[in-house]
């Protein structure tokens, strides 16, 4: 590794026109904020969809006022049809997984802060970076366009299993144009994220400033780097899968559609395709994808916790290796989504062992976090509350993974609400908490304004308790045999469970409403919040060495030199109990990098 301070200086001329400053900007910070805005809009859409879903499940025949405006056919008089439920459910999952959970923790915060945290002026390829956002945005537009087609969006779930994804409109409403739009949107998304990885990886490897060795990178920077490596492999596999599925759909090929299938008493023209091939390709992407959703959160939460504990983690190195282990193992476990899929049962056993083993790095991460709290000087604020909440949620969600990792238990729990509870706790809650924590922590730097602490704490309390009220019961429902992806519960078997669903729905609506507090806080603070100082949290990493908000080239023309490890807290320095990475001050440090 070299730390030649002479490195990437792109044509850093500050932009002048409005378009160049705010729309087609080459500045990674603007791009990061654009991604954040995209994720915010997507989250609002995804959450609204979840409200519609939950209301329909709890009160199936009720009219949801106004829903008929979204779709005349899908919700005549506001009463949702079964197909429309599935269509909304598909869009909910797709929007949340792709445009919120991959976009916000990785693309939004990563774009804004990775170059600053490594001490660079920008990413190495600002044009590709700009393209990455606009291609992702285009993907979102294409996806949302499916709401406005004749028979609506696809109803096949965010997993879009074959052959339902390829048989065309004979498969159901939304299976015509809706599927093609979905596949195209996701292919665009993959391209956007690949362009993102194209910037993230060289930034971390080559653009580190003088004195910034790899081990001196903050944990959030490591997390973004590891995530971008995962994305490189995962998205590059999903894209060809989507291409093949589109071909099956529009060009009459039979990659995924088997022979002799009959729908509406008509023999389908396809033949010979492999149903399981789609699942293998999809989950090879799909499992790393969920780690792409959580690893940035792990890095962000670590970063925030350390600042608020006023001491570094017990071992930075172990956390980095654990994140790396999660990334590597994530490719070996994907078959656990396919235990009862008809794949060779030996393969199921083979996949279950790495799945069980992946518990180990996850446990190590939780142990390091928890036991680093010991002997710390924990500060409680909105950011640290969400970070601590992340730990609780990650534990809860992770523990249910224990069950699903075993094929024999999966016989009972596959495709039930147990799975839905598991992934919502880790993704829908823990990863979201990571986003919230990051927002409260970094808003001062991103927007130059402090967010309102009182509102932040109210947001936290309602979200924390609310999320448990929503998603814990999902596990009980699953254990009792409640099948997932049902638009209504009409079986005798499921009737006794409906009161639980009603409880969940009410909790969901209240928790959803609490998010409006966050939205208000975000927008209000953006314009009228207290102006933020450069380093409100007394933190050490390079983003706090910049002015607030950072100038277009991050460091005002003079790149910092790094003298310290990233988390020198608990030292005696002129600044207090911490010394910043870029400060030349030599201090007596109790915490050696292990």
């Amino acid at each position: 590794m070299h730390d030649m301070s002479a490195h990437a200086v792109q044509h850093h001329v500050p932009p002048t026109s409005f378009i160049r400053k705010h729309v087609f900007s080459l500045d990674h910070k603007v791009i990061g904020k654009q991604y954040y805005a995209l994720a915010l809009v997507a989250a609002i859409c995804g959450m609204a969809l979840s409200w519609f879903m939950r209301i329909h499940l709890a009160w199936t025949n009720a009219a949801i006022p106004g829903l008929q405006l979204l779709s005349k056919n899908g919700a005549p008089g506001g009463v949702m049809t079964p197909e429309y439920y599935l269509q909304l459910m598909t869009m909910h999952g797709t929007i949340m997984v792709f445009f919120v959970l991959t976009t916000a923790p990785f693309a939004a915060f990563g774009n804004f802060f990775l170059p600053i945290q490594v001490g660079a002026e920008d990413m190495p390829f600002p044009h590709f970076n700009m393209m990455s956002f606009w291609v992702t945005f285009a993907g979102f537009v294409v996806l949302m366009a499916s709401f406005f087609t004749a028979d609506g969006p696809t109803l096949g779930g965010w997993t879009q299993y074959a052959p339902l994804n390829a048989v065309g409109s004979v498969g159901g409403p939304g299976q015509g144009t809706g599927v093609v739009l979905w596949m195209a949107a996701i292919a665009l998304f993959c391209v956007g994220q690949l362009l993102g990885s194209l910037n993230f990886i060289p930034t971390t490897l080559d653009l580190r400033t003088k004195g910034m060795s790899l081990m001196r990178l903050p944990l959030s920077a490591w997390a973004w780097f590891i995530t971008s490596c995962m994305g490189l492999t995962a998205f590059a596999v999903l894209m060809p899968a989507c291409i093949l599925a589109i071909l099956d759909h529009v060009a009459g090929t039979s990659f995924f559609v088997a022979s002799n299938l009959v729908m509406n008493d008509q023999l389908l023209p396809h033949s010979g395709g492999s149903t399981l091939l789609w699942q293998h390709l999809f989950w090879f992407f799909g499992h790393p994808e969920v780690y792409i959703a959580i690893v940035p959160g792990i890095g962000i939460v670590s970063h925030i916790l350390i600042t608020n504990m006023r001491k570094p983690m017990l071992s930075q190195r172990v956390l980095i290796y654990s994140m790396g282990a999660l990334a590597v193992l994530s490719y070996m476990v994907y078959g656990h989504h396919m235990f009862v899929s008809g794949m060779n049962p030996f393969s199921s056993l083979a996949f279950s062992f790495p799945t069980l083993v992946i518990t180990i790095p996850s446990t190590i991460v939780v142990l390091i976090w928890t036991f680093s709290l010991y002997g710390s000087k924990l500060r409680i604020n909105s950011a640290s509350l969400f970070a601590l909440g992340f730990i609780s949620m990650f534990v809860s969600g992770g523990v249910s993974g224990f069950f699903l990792a075993q094929p024999s238990i999966d016989i009972l729990l596959h495709a039930t609400y147990f799975v839905v509870g598991h992934f919502h706790l880790v993704m829908g809650v823990a990863a979201m908490f990571g986003i919230f924590a990051g927002t409260y922590f970094w808003a001062p730097k991103m927007f130059g304004r402090m967010m309102n602490e009182t509102l932040g704490k109210i947001h936290f309390w309602l979200s924390f308790v609310g999320a448990y009220c929503i998603f814990m019961p999902f596990h009980y429902l699953g254990m009792a045999g409640n099948v997932r992806r049902y638009s209504a519960f009409v079986d005798d078997f499921l009737q006794p469970l409906i009161p639980v669903h009603r409880f969940i729905t009410i909790a969901a609506l209240i928790t959803g409403a609490a998010q409006l507090i966050f939205l208000y806080n975000l927008i209000h603070s953006r314009f009228w919040g207290k102006p933020a100082p450069d380093n409100p949290w007394e933190a050490t990493s390079l983003e706090w060495s910049t002015p607030t908000p950072p100038p277009f080239d991050n460091f005002g023309g003079k790149l910092p030199v790094v003298y310290h490890d990233p988390y020198q807290y608990g030292v005696q320095s002129s600044a207090g109990d911490y010394v910043m990475q870029a400060s030349p001050e030599q201090v007596k440090t109790e915490h050696e990098e292990k």
């Binding site: 590794m1 200086v9 990886i201 653009l207 590059a236 291409i243 009459g252 492999s274 091939l277």
Partner: protein, 225 residues
């Protein structure tokens, strides 16, 4: 990636192009006429040769996915009908290999020209144009291969074997077109004397990779189809 700065070569300072704002500044190891190393450092190229490997890795994963799809699809059903690969493919392969050779020649010539180390290199872009021509010839040859298949009645959906043939060769050809775009970019930058060494090297690596990828695809298609 690690970079070292070896001893700067003994240069005839009068022969060097004058460092203008968008001039030849940007070479490593180059001492500007006024000796202002800071200027050279400030305008150094991005040390991001790792980026091209990121791109190549992603492309590899994509073709790995297609390859595994081919293998699984062939094994999953009895409807696979092999066919003989159009013979023009072998000619196209030679053309593509030749283009890699010409690209290497041009790379060295351009590097020499930009380094100002040889007395006069005429038309440093000539070999780039030759490479570009050969690349276009390759794509045209692929198109001819598709036409030959169509004449035999083998279309995209005729049989899974033909499906994969078209998908793999078309995707490769698309990426080759991207590489041609890169070559055009290099030629333009060279003509304005704003070419950075890294851009040329990255384009060359990409192009050679397209070559290697094509050889792999040819083997795969030959064995499996």
């Amino acid at each position: 990636m690690a970079t070292t700065i070896p001893e700067p070569p003994q240069l005839d300072l009068d022969r060097l192009p004058k460092p203008t704002h968008s001039g030849n500044s940007g070479w490593r190891n180059l001492v500007p006429t006024d000796g202002d190393l800071h200027v050279a450092l400030e305008h150094s190229p991005p040390a991001s040769s790792s980026a091209i490997y990121v791109v190549l890795f992603a492309i590899t994963m994509m073709f790995a996915a297609f390859s595994s799809a081919l293998i699984v699809r062939k094994g999953s059903s009895l409807d696979w009908q092999s066919f003989t690969l159009p013979s023009i493919l072998y000619l196209n392969t030679l053309i593509l290999l030749a283009s890699s050779v010409t690209l290497e020649v041009s790379r060295r010539r351009v590097a020499t020209f930009m380094g100002g180390l040889k007395s006069r290199v005429e038309n440093p872009a000539r070999w780039l144009y030759i490479t570009l021509f050969l690349g276009l010839l390759f794509v045209a040859g692929q198109y001819a291969a598709w036409s030959q298949l169509r004449a035999q009645g083998l279309y995209l959906a005729t049989n899974p074997s033909s499906s994969f043939f078209y998908v793999l060769t078309a995707t490769h050809a698309l990426h080759v077109l991207g590489g041609l775009g890169g070559l055009i970019y290099v030629i333009r930058k060279l003509s304005k004397s704003t070419l950075r060494r890294n851009a040329l090297d990255a384009t060359a690596r990409y192009w050679h990779f397209m070559d290697v990828l094509w050889l792999y695809l040819l083997c795969l298609l030959w064995m499996k189809l």
